[in-house]
């Protein structure tokens, strides 16, 4: 076999007392797709940032085609033939596709060399089957197309090794297939690819080999991912067996939330068009759909932040007269927002304050218009204990907590008041298997207690596992609803693209 394209030897990187990477060895051959697996905080991103020049390693070396190289910044990495597609795209939305490609490329006699840029773009389009309209502004591209642009950008700069950081997190199932086809084609033409993910089925389907990181060290290597079970890999990632939570049969009771013909307007994103659905007590309703098909408007209406233009809503049998978060909360609604850091809590305030924020004016936490710090603190301390929230104490700045602990805090804050209906968006996005498992168990426990739960999500496997029924959103409408016993990833994926309307009584 030829010399590896990239070899990392004994990479160690510490942040203060924390060893983010410890003596990690890794290599990628030309034409090889390497999976890099690990839970959050296992050191995947740190390792790739070392390779891409964002961090300098404390020890270890990097070899490109057998020669040691020093990579101090992204320009060095690009020069060494290393390209990276970050999880959050590095694109300027208002500039065109071509301008985003040409950034940082020297011009011809003082001008931007458009002609050469276009030629190169066409060449990449032919070679790898990746094409885009060069004159469209990036803001007009879909998420999948933006990702394609990021890949083209790396190839444009002559990348021989492509690093993709959780590339499928933002894609619809059909887009994932397209991405995988493109990556396979690049690999057969001699490029090396590092594919970072924690979705085991994807790693098994795509990669030739995988390296599993745990606590910054290599926990194991898998030479034939396709022949290895997900359970084995999960065990390598976590260090112990992961048993999926058991969902007991439940007998749903009366409807606790109904939406009847809800339409919205004047909202950033896709508005709702004539949406009707209901959730019964003791039932979990999953809402599937490609991101941007009205899920945000739906969550905002149900949580009272967006008054609908038409339609009616009831909570626990009572009609909602006034849409305001406080009003709906009083009717028995609990809400866990999509973005923990911006709408979930106030990152610069103490955790305890964030945990009581939705109920700050109630008897429990204030008296005669004055806050009751002792009660707030006691409540936070109690929840920290009950939910095993790992933090130095209730007065720590909320933003200092990890994603999993923040999510636990948000969950604790809502569940402490026994909501009749709970609406959650992307409940486990960015969480590791252990934390996600904890969240799932809590949902199932609430379901057993008779709470009606709406889970808006993009992870179909998660929705299938949790839900009793799954509704699919497409362009602001409910495209169809299936009992989860009849639903499969393939069938849902088809409905998510607007095909196969199967309207059943919702």
């Amino acid at each position: 076999m030829s010399a590896p394209l990239i070899e990392m030897r004994g990479i160690t990187k510490s942040f203060g007392a924390v060893k983010a990477n410890e003596a990690v060895d890794l290599s990628v051959a030309p034409g090889e797709i390497l999976g890099l697996l690990g839970e959050n905080g296992a050191g995947k991103t740190t390792l790739m940032n070392v390779l891409f020049g964002a961090y300098a390693p404390d020890a270890g070396e990097i070899l490109v085609e057998g020669r040691p190289v020093a990579i101090h910044n992204s320009a060095d990495a690009l020069a060494a033939g290393i390209g990276m597609v970050h999880q959050h795209f590095h694109l300027a939305p208002r500039l065109t596709v071509l301008e985003n490609l040409l950034i940082g490329i020297p011009g011809k006699s003082g001008r931007i060399d458009r002609a050469r840029g276009l030629a190169r773009l066409n060449e990449i389009g032919r070679q790898y089957g990746l094409s885009l309209d060069p004159n469209l502004p990036v803001s007009a591209l879909s998420v999948g197309e933006q990702q394609r642009l990021e890949i083209i950008k790396a190839l444009f700069r002559g990348a021989k090794l492509l690093i993709l950081d959780e590339p499928t997190a933002v894609l619809a199932p059909s887009e994932v297939d397209g991405l995988f086809a493109a990556l396979r084609s690049m690999a057969t033409q001699g490029l090396g690819i590092i594919f970072i993910s924690h979705k085991l089925n994807e790693v098994r389907a795509l990669t030739h080999r995988c390296v599993v990181l745990r606590h910054g060290k290599v926990a194991g290597r898998v030479d034939h991912p396709a022949q290895t079970t997900s359970a084995e890999m999960a065990k390598l990632m976590c260090g112990h067996e992961i048993v999926p939570p058991t969902k007991e049969a439940s007998s749903p009771g009366a409807a606790v939330l109904t939406l009847d013909g809800i339409s919205t307007s004047g909202h950033a994103g896709t508005p709702l068009r004539d949406v009707s659905l209901s959730v019964r007590s003791g039932e979990i309703l999953g809402i599937a759909g490609v991101s941007g098909n009205g899920q945000r408007a739906l969550a905002d209406v149900i949580s009272g932040m967006l008054p609908p233009r038409a339609g009616a809503m009831t909570i626990a049998g009572k009609a909602v007269a006034r849409f305001s978060p406080r009003e709906l909360q009083a009717l028995g609604l609990g809400r866990i927002p999509e973005d923990r850091m911006t709408t979930g809590l106030v990152t610069n305030l103490p955790l305890a304050d964030s945990m009581v924020l939705p109920r700050i004016g109630t008897e429990a936490f204030s008296r005669k218009g004055l806050l009751n710090p002792a009660a707030i603190r006691a409540f936070a301390e109690e929840q920290i204990k009950a939910y095993d929230i790992r933090c130095p104490g209730p007065m720590v700045r909320a933003g200092a907590l990890s994603g999993g602990n923040l999510q636990k805090a948000l969950l604790a804050r809502e569940l402490a008041f026994d909501p009749k209906v709970l609406i959650v968006s992307q409940p486990t996005r960015g969480l590791d298997i252990g934390a996600a498992r904890f969240i799932h168990e809590k949902f199932l426990a609430m379901r057993a207690k008779g709470c009606g739960i709406i889970v808006i999500g993009e992870d179909l496997e998660e929705l299938l596992m949790l839900s009793d029924r799954i509704a699919v959103m497409y362009e602001g409408r409910i495209a169809g609803t299936l009992p989860s016993a009849d639903a499969t990833v393939a069938r849902l994926g088809l409905m998510m693209t607007g095909a196969g309307h199967t309207e059943e009584a919702a």
């Binding site: 964002a54 910044n73 992204s74 320009a75 690009l78 990276m84 970050h86 959050h88 795209f89 590095h90 694109l91 300027a92 939305p93 208002r94 500039l95 301008e99 985003n100 040409l102 950034i103 940082g104 490329i105 020297p106 011009g107 003082g110 001008r111 931007i112 950008k153 700069r157």
Partner: protein
């Protein structure tokens, strides 16, 4: 009423518009470059004043107007570098630092002026720039004398607009400026230095503000007074928004403002004497506010405006 209009719309009126627009155009282009790179420069008002003073002083002491212009431009670049040091290198609040730069520059201008010229009952003046007619072009009726019989700095402003558009839209550096103003992380990952690009844009912006100041004391008034800038810097900030961060539109905005300003000057001088002159003075500013209210609704600022870039932050 028709007599009033006759008095207003004549060659001199057109020429006045061009002359009023020139410092605004320089200042607006300067602020635009800075903001396109993601840095709001509220120091503009003070920088213009300090440059007006520095240029005037250099010209007055040396006798060379062009040396005065050079000193004004260098002073502007230096103040731009100071603002960039605070906001780009140290990542401090652009609002606070900009106001600080304005207060500091204004104070410095007053102080140095008093130190150099003392307190005089009549402010010293210089023999400023003279209009330079451009052969042939200045013979065009109406447009010729108004546009092509002007100060060299006016011609420079006219050339500066397409040049700024070319630099911003057609050169790799201009693309880098737009990129660091939209998504600095994208520029950084493409190997472009965000810090260096922002420094360069803010310094270029300061230099252009310097030209604006130089024009005021060496072509328009030929003397330095403490009120010589009188809000033109603040107006330029509004004009950048009005011009949607585009060189052509910004220049157009400057011309429009200049038109209203020239109009009110004529109205003051014309037979509408029963109205207090302060009412006319307000007109351009009322116009700016109204125009902003209508036009800036769909104007979208560079996404990274006001946001300092720190690489390690995710």
């Amino acid at each position: 009423m028709s007599a009033v209009f006759e008095q207003i719309f004549q060659v001199g009126f057109l020429a006045a518009i061009i002359r009023i627009a020139t410092p605004l155009a320089f200042a607006t282009l300067g602020e635009m470059f800075s903001e396109r790179a993601g840095v709001l420069n509220l120091g503009i008002e003070g920088i213009m004043l300090l440059c007006a003073m520095a240029g005037f002083t250099a010209a007055s002491l040396s006798g060379s107007l062009w040396l005065g212009v050079l000193v004004a431009v260098l002073t502007g670049a230096l103040m731009g570098a100071l603002h960039a040091l605070f906001t780009v290198a140290l990542g401090l609040s652009q609002h606070v630092c900009g106001i600080g730069v304005t207060l500091f520059s204004s104070g410095l201008a007053y102080f140095l002026y008093r130190l150099i010229f003392g307190q005089q009952s009549v402010p010293p003046s210089i023999d400023g720039f003279k209009p330079v007619p451009i052969p042939l072009l200045s013979d065009i009726p109406v447009l010729g004398p108004a546009v092509f019989n002007q100060f060299t700095l006016v011609y420079l402003a006219i050339v500066a607009v397409p040049l700024a558009a070319f630099v911003l839209y057609r050169t790799p550096w201009g693309l880098s400026v737009r990129m660091v103003g939209e998504n600095p992380r994208a520029a950084d990952s493409a190997g472009v230095s965000v810090i260096a690009t922002r420094f360069q844009a803010v310094i270029l912006g300061g230099a252009l503000m310097g030209l604006a100041g130089a024009f005021l004391t060496m072509a328009q008034f030929n003397a330095f007074t403490f009120g010589v800038v009188s809000g033109r810097g603040w107006v330029a900030i509004a004009l950048v928004v009005f011009g949607r961060w585009d060189p052509w539109r910004s220049a157009g905005a400057a011309l429009l403002f200049a038109f209203v300003d020239a109009l009110q000057l004529r109205m003051q001088a014309s037979g509408l004497g029963h109205i207090p002159y302060e009412a006319f003075l307000m007109l351009p500013f009322i116009f700016t506010i109204v125009a902003m209210a209508f036009m800036s609704r769909n104007a979208v600022a560079p996404s990274a405006l006001l946001k300092p870039f720190r690489r390690e932050e995710r």
